[in-house]
Symmetry: C2
DNA sequence: CAGTGGTCTAGACCACAGG
DNA sequence: CTGTGGTCTAGACCACTGA
């Protein structure tokens, strides 16, 4: 009994997605045991190593718990509520995974000359054009996260004086630039809601807010996007899962 | 030319450690190119797959940048200043990696009956004994992080009414319990320095502080340790690196 | 003991970069 | 074109768990 897998994408990734889906829709119930690696490799018609790569990735995210000599189990603690690393930048997904309705409001988009910190972070001379994108994320109509992103105009392709404000950062870089993000460095701080920010996020002045500063780099270590976010953790708890090692 | 590798540990892990060391001591200089996978596999006398596992792990941490068809490069942006995920709980390492002198002061250690939140988080009936460990981390003599940890007394082995306050959480669980940590869930919040905490961290009252709540689980999804930390990000910036996927 | 996951190998083939 | 990293396989052997 071997399923039909499309070759274009890697086998590992397809297996990964299918298993993820089965966990999500509870074909494999929380706390339950997965078929053994050999059984899965027979079901999918791929080698055991391929199955293992897919499983390892899910285990690293905390979705699966692997017990040597015993079996692979679905982590019952992560149902519905949670997120892994991506939580630091894929805010839309984060909000959805926590069971809220997502809405994204595009507050502003404009070309500006780079200056100060932005110019430094993006390694672009002062005065060169960058596109600023300011967005507000809502969870069930509560404003939760205010995000400003900056992309040097030179990385954006032709046509696009317009950017679709509903897209995730991943999608934006994929659709509007020719470069690919390889990794990101984020710094996390606690701050107080300044006037303007307090108003937008509907907070009392000087309420504590999380501040996330993130810069994305491509494979050549060139900064592609930088951004600054203010995150109201009283509406949406920022939770991260990580396997011990 | 094949190096002598000890068999007891896994080959992959040994290769990983050696490469990590070479990056750290700049045998492989920042921005430079690593020997190819085939060359490394010859040098270490192991298969290419083994080399690849070691490299993949380093790449996932952002230490290496892999360029298809070209080579593997040392990420020059991470020299000295930075940390990956472990930064959320291995505070000693975090402080060291940022170039400060670490000191840990044991403020308090005592057995208490579990109550409220702690009892819930640790899934232990109210009134059962837990050990509370309160510690203060210093970076170059500045108090930076205040940590309270709770471990159910039943997981601690015999002799140990005494816990060495200088150890990392990983070392504590390894040395004093029979269980092994499989994964952790952390939640990150922004808070204001309350009276007592402000005093200990030498902050003005109501300064913003990061609050990290972490619970560690074993492979059977049983909570082993929980803890609450207050982190002064003005002294030590909390930076996280993550590969895009 | 049988069944599970963990490590490792040798080798094939592919996809991509750069001369 | 050559050399690099990326994917995949088949198979061996080991280490651990639970009956």
């Amino acid at each position: 009994m071997s399923l039909e897998l499309i070759r274009p994408k890697t086998l590992t990734e397809q297996v990964n997605l299918i298993l993820r889906e089965r966990i999500h829709d509870k074909t494999y119930p929380p706390g339950g045991r997965l078929p053994s690696e050999v059984e899965l490799s027979e079901e999918f018609g791929v080698s055991r190593s391929t199955i293992r790569s897919a499983l390892s990735r899910l285990a690293a995210e905390g979705l699966l718990l692997r017990k040597h000599g015993n079996g692979t189990y679905i982590n019952s603690r992560l149902q519905g509520v949670n997120t892994n690393w991506g939580g630091l930048w894929e805010f839309g997904e984060l909000i959805e995974k926590n069971g809220y309705q997502v809405a994204i409001k595009l507050l502003n988009i404009e070309k500006k000359p780079a200056k100060g910190n932005i110019s430094l972070e993006l390694n672009v001379p002062e005065g060169e054009e960058v596109v600023e994108l300011q967005r507000l994320f809502f969870a069930d109509d509560h404003p939760v996260i205010l995000v400003k992103n900056f992309i040097p105009a030179k990385y954006l392709m032709n046509l696009s004086n317009h950017i679709d404000g509903q897209l995730s950062l991943r999608e934006i870089t994929e659709q509007y630039t020719r470069v690919r993000i390889a990794y990101a460095i984020s710094s996390v701080r606690a701050t107080l809601a300044r006037d303007e920010i307090a108003v937008i996020l509907e907070k009392n002045p000087d309420s504590p807010l999380l501040n996330l500063e993130i810069t994305f780099y491509d494979i050549n270590n060139i900064p592609i996007v930088t951004g600054s976010s203010y995150y109201d953790d009283t509406v949406l708890n920022l939770r991260l899962v990580q396997a011990w090692q």
